[in-house]
């Protein structure tokens, strides 16, 4: 049982990690914490569904379509909604993402309010048994994908010039302009990437959870917890936080009480922040909020 709890915890944690990474990337590059990331998550899954059912596309085609749509949506949102606010107080930007989250949820509820749609697994097949541990092929895919994304971004931010530029632009946008960095373009792209990451996570997990307008909300809070645990803005932190949270949830549910599963994330947040206010891996950077 222990091994199974750990393994499923890791699989769950991987999904949290992809969600948290999407938010972390955006936070790193714009200092905005995106409260509508959960909706990107939801829209990604819906886009696949729509492409499949309305246009009759193949699964792979639909996924490409969904990712592309969400990338464009992210860019558009930055251009239309966020850019005009770039000089506004930080909380206005946070509220804008909140408003957006309501809007996207409202719209999708308007069309799909009563429906909860199933999505077939990306890869089917029988459960894989390794000793006492049972995993679905989909689970393995999820874990593998998030590993890939994590390393990709880690490399990008830590090793490439562009990564550094993005970080610089987020801390001192005026300074970045002063050295000739196209700050608006960078922001725009990063929003696109953030949305795409959200969609990817959504598509990965949707076969397990079904597709419905509220599917993003619960994920968001887990991602927050993961980010807090690892320290805002830290990529490895987000991943470590997400995996820890996934495993903790399972262990607490399995060994203490299933009533605690839903608040594990919150307990973790509170304990971590009281003991170490900057998260486990976070450097002490003051958020502008």
């Amino acid at each position: 049982m222990f091994a199974q709890l750990i393994m499923s915890g890791i699989v769950n944690g991987s999904v949290y990690a992809v969600v948290a990474l999407g938010m972390t990337v955006l936070y790193r590059s714009t200092t905005v914490v995106n409260f509508c990331h959960g909706e990107f998550f939801m829209l990604g899954a819906f886009a696949v569904l729509v492409a499949q059912q309305l246009f009759g596309w193949t699964y792979a085609g639909s996924i490409v379509f969904a990712l592309a749509m969400l990338f464009l949506a992210g860019c558009a949102i930055e251009r239309v909604l966020m850019r005009p606010l770039q000089n506004a107080p930080h909380i206005s930007m946070a509220m804008m993402t909140v408003a957006l989250s309501y809007l996207l949820k409202g719209i999708s509820r308007f069309f799909y309010g009563r429906e909860v749609k199933p999505l077939q697994p990306l890869i089917g097949g029988d459960p894989i048994e390794i000793g006492s541990v049972i995993l679905m092929p989909q689970d393995v895919l999820i874990a593998g994908f998030s590993l890939l994304v994590v390393f990709g971004f880690f490399y990008f931010f830590q090793r490439t010039e562009t990564g550094k530029v993005i970080q610089a632009a987020s801390q001192t946008p005026r300074g970045a302009s002063l050295v000739g960095i196209n700050v608006p373009l960078l922001r725009n792209l990063m929003w696109g990437v953030g949305a795409l990451m959200g969609a990817a996570a959504g598509i990965l997990i949707a076969p397990n959870t079904l597709v419905y307008p509220d599917m993003g909300g619960h994920m968001l809070i887990r991602a927050f917890a993961a980010m807090t645990l690892g320290g805002f803005g830290s990529l490895p932190g987000a991943v470590a936080g997400a995996l820890t949270l996934g495993v903790l949830e399972n262990l607490i549910g399995g060994y203490i009480s299933s009533s605690l599963v839903e608040i594990t994330a919150y307990l973790v947040i509170i304990v971590v922040l009281i003991v170490r206010p900057q998260g486990i891996m976070g450097e002490w950077r003051q958020g502008r909020g």
């Binding site: 199974q4 309010g113 909860v116 397990n208 619960h218 262990l251 399995g254 299933s258 009533s259």
Partner: protein
């Protein structure tokens, strides 16, 4: 009388038209279809029914203001509404403050709504007490069933089932071998399932909404839990089979079934047609018919009250309703001044291969 003119009777309705539980708007539509059908057939005693429909989004506070609006702004004759137990519980004080106002529950099942009885609240569906009794009886009808595990939500709805269930079990000298919470919106049920698996139950009583039940069934299949799952009327079998998308995972699922026949049965066609006539685009599910008996009971009581319709007379007539059975619900409806929980029986349904079948006891000894 309030809400009544020479040609109309105004009835207020509310239900979750929007929000995460918007699926609960289906019973409202079913009831509304009955009213429209009656109107198209000429109305009752020369009066047509006018509906004031409010959205409660399954939110108790919204329901309170909706009720106040129906009562004092729209001046309705009576209210027929409530799919979420929490919303109906929330307006009980308001209803107590307006003892002359008749209230018919639309689909909320919590036993606490009608027990103890409130004079103006009528409950024409199988209450959670009735549902859990049926579920338990069904579970115990399987030979040698000893070990019962429970998985449930911890919200009001979940607890309104758990409480009577545990009481019933205790009365039979039983204890659940394992009892776990699965929260709404969960994306994983591993820890709960492993606990259940470790308890080696003969049967699992699942008090879950559709999304979580889906998750549960899929994971149960994955972890090789073979015990049958018995669940409430909160889900419909067709929907679950579709959602889970894996026949192996649903073949051992038994759902409390509030209706008299499967939706595709010829004898039920009449009701499906009524519903389709007025809501051709809406899904036809078990839920769609849960409000109909209440609506028909209202129509019946209004009819019996005669042309001089008053609330008082109307409630008196409701209280005399005995074995009222239009053929929708699995049992007949009886209201007495002492008992407003009008339906006390139900059946179980399952999906052996490619269509649903109604059964009374396990193993499937067919009842019809």
């Amino acid at each position: 009388e309030t809400g009544v003119t020479d040609t109309t009777i105004r009835i207020g309705m509310f239900g979750p038209l929007t929000g995460p539980t918007a699926i609960g708007s289906l019973p409202l539509l079913g009831a509304a279809a009955i009213y429209k059908d009656i109107n198209d057939a000429g109305g009752i005693n020369g009066r047509k029914i006018e509906l004031s429909i409010e959205d409660d989004a399954c939110d108790p506070n919204k329901t309170i203001s909706a009720t106040k609006k129906l009562i004092s702004q729209d001046q309705v004759f009576m209210i027929h509404g409530g799919w979420c137990s929490g919303t109906v519980m929330a307006i009980k004080p308001e209803l107590a403050r307006n003892p002359q106002l008749p209230f018919m529950v639309l689909g909320a099942a919590s036993a606490a709504i009608s027990t103890p009885v409130t004079a103006n609240i009528f409950h024409p569906i199988a209450t959670t007490a009735a549902v859990t009794r049926t579920m338990l009886d069904f579970a115990l009808s399987k030979p040698k069933t000893q070990r019962i595990a429970i998985v449930s939500h911890s919200d009001e709805w979940g607890k309104s089932h758990i409480t009577p269930l545990l009481d019933l079990m205790k009365a039979k000298g039983l204890e659940p071998v394992e009892s776990v919470w699965l929260e709404r919106g969960s994306t994983d049920a591993t820890s709960q399932l492993l606990k259940i698996r470790a308890a080696k139950p003969d049967v699992v009583l699942a008090i879950l909404y559709p999304p979580e039940l889906t998750l549960y069934l899929r994971d149960a299949n994955k972890y090789g839990i073979k015990a049958p799952t018995v669940t409430t009327q909160g889900v419909s079998i067709e929907d679950m089979v579709k959602r889970v998308g894996n026949p192996a995972a649903t073949k051992n699922l038994f759902v409390f079934y509030p209706l008299s026949a499967t939706l595709d049965a010829p004898k039920f066609k009449k009701w499906v047609d009524v519903y389709r006539r007025y809501y051709p685009k809406e899904p036809v599910e078990t839920l769609s018919f849960m409000g109909m008996t209440g609506a028909l009971a209202i129509v019946e009581a209004i009819k019996r009250s005669g042309p001089q319709l008053t609330r008082e007379k109307f409630m008196a007539e409701l209280n005399t309703l005995r074995d009222f059975d239009p053929g929708i619900q699995s049992g007949s409806l009886t209201f007495t001044p002492e008992v407003h929980a009008g339906i006390s029986a139900g059946k179980m349904i399952y999906w052996p291969v490619d269509h649903p079948e109604i059964i009374d006891s396990y193993p499937a000894a067919k009842s019809q």
